[in-house]
Symmetry: C2
Subunit: 183 residues, 2 copies
DNA sequence: ACCTGAACACCGTTCAAGT
DNA sequence: ACCTGAACACCGTTCAAGT
C-alpha cells in the first residue's frame, strides 16, 4: 500500500485546457489528456469521475481565471473590468472557452461572478428584478461576442476591428444602464 | 448496375437534426443517423463527404429555416422579424442550434441573411463600416441570447421571464440604432 | 449507382491485478 | 493508494465486394 501520486485533478484540468487550446475541444479525449501526463487513460478516473466531470472542471477552471474587480472602482467601471476579464480568459483559452456557453455552471466560481455583477447593478439603482434581468442580458451579450471571437466567427476581420467592435459593444451596454457616477 | 437510392442528403440532414434535438449534439454519430434511416453508417458516405460535412449541412439547414423578412416592412421591423425568426429556429431545434456559434458559416444561406440585415441597417442611415459593425454586434447579441436559451442556461427561469428578457434585449438593441421611421 | 462486411485506429469506461 | 492491462461497446473512415 502507499504509492506517491503522479497526477492530481488540477494538473489534469490544466492539461485538458492546453489540449483544447492547441487542438480544439474535440481533441480533448481521456487518452490525449492522459498521454500528455505520461499516464494511461484509466489513471484519470481516480481524479475525475468521468469525462463530463472533466469538462465541468475545465469550466470551473476558466471561471476561476476571471478576476474579481477592484472594490474601490465605480460600479460601471467594475462591470467594464469584468467584461475585460472575461475577454482576457477567452483570449488565453480560445479552444476551451465555448464550453461556457454549452455547460451552464452553478458552481461557486460562477455564483461569485454573478454576485459581483448583481452588486454593481444594485449600486446602479436597479430593483432586484431589473438587476437579475440586466445581469442575464449583459452576460449573454458579452459571452456571445467573446465566444464568437474565440470560435473564429470574426476571423476575416483584423484585430483592430475586433477590438473596436468590443469597445462599441461595451458602449452600447453602458447606454442601456442608468447614468454612471461622475467622478 | 443501377439501384434505386434509399436515402439522400436532405433526408440525412433532417435525421441528424432530429437526433440532435432529441438526444443532444454528442448523439449525432454516423452510426446513430444511419440506424434511423435503416441503413449502415457506410452508406452515408455516398451523400456526405465526412462528418464535418454532415455538421456543416446541418448548419445550412438551420439557416435555411430563418425566413426572409417581408420587404414591405420598415427596416426596424424587418430586423425584429429576423431576430424572431432566429429564435423560432432555435426553439424548433434546440439541440442542433449551438452549431451556429461554433461553425462559422460562409454559405449562401448565411450570406443572404447577412445581406438582409445590411439592407435594413443601410436604410437606417448608417455608413458602410457602421453597417457591418452593427450587424456583427446585433447578430452576436441575438445568437448569444438564443444559444444560451437553447443550451438551457436560463432553465431555472419561467418561460414568461425568458420571453420578457428577449423583448427587453430587442428594446436595448433598438435603442442603440437611429430612430426608426414613424408610421 | 448504391449499399454492405470486414477491417483499422481510436473513443469512454469497467474491473481485476500489480506495486 | 495509485496506476495498468485486458476487455467491451462504440466511434469515424477506407476499401473491396455484392446487387
Amino acid at each position: 500500500m502507499g504509492r506517491t501520486a503522479q497526477i492530481d485533478r488540477s494538473a489534469i484540468l490544466r492539461t485538458a485546457l492546453d489540449v483544447a487550446d492547441e487542438h480544439g475541444l474535440a481533441a480533448v479525449t481521456m487518452n490525449a489528456v492522459a498521454k500528455r501526463l505520461e499516464v494511461t487513460a484509466m489513471a484519470l478516473y481516480r481524479h475525475v469521475t468521468d469525462k463530463a466531470d472533466l469538462l465541468d472542471g475545465m469550466v470551473e477552471a476558466l471561471l476561476t481565471g476571471i478576476p474579481t474587480p477592484e472594490p474601490g472602482l465605480a460600479w460601471n467601471d467594475r462591470l467594464t473590468a469584468m467584461a475585460g476579464g472575461i475577454r482576457a480568459v477567452a483570449t488565453a483559452h480560445p479552444g476551451a472557452f465555448p464550453l461556457l456557453l454549452t455547460r451552464p455552471a452553478a458552481t461557486s466560481a460562477a455564483l461569485e461572478i454573478r454576485e459581483s455583477a448583481y452588486r454593481a447593478l444594485r449600486e446602479a439603482g436597479l430593483g432586484q428584478d431589473a438587476v437579475e434581468r440586466a445581469e442575464r442580458l449583459l452576460s449573454t451579450a458579452i459571452l456571445g461576442f467573446v465566444a464568437s471571437e474565440a470560435a473564429g466567427r470574426f476571423r476575416n476581420h483584423g484585430q483592430a476591428t475586433i477590438d473596436e467592435d468590443f469597445a462599441e459593444l461595451l458602449r452600447w451596454l453602458q447606454r442601456v444602464l442608468p447614468d454612471p457616477p461622475t467622478g
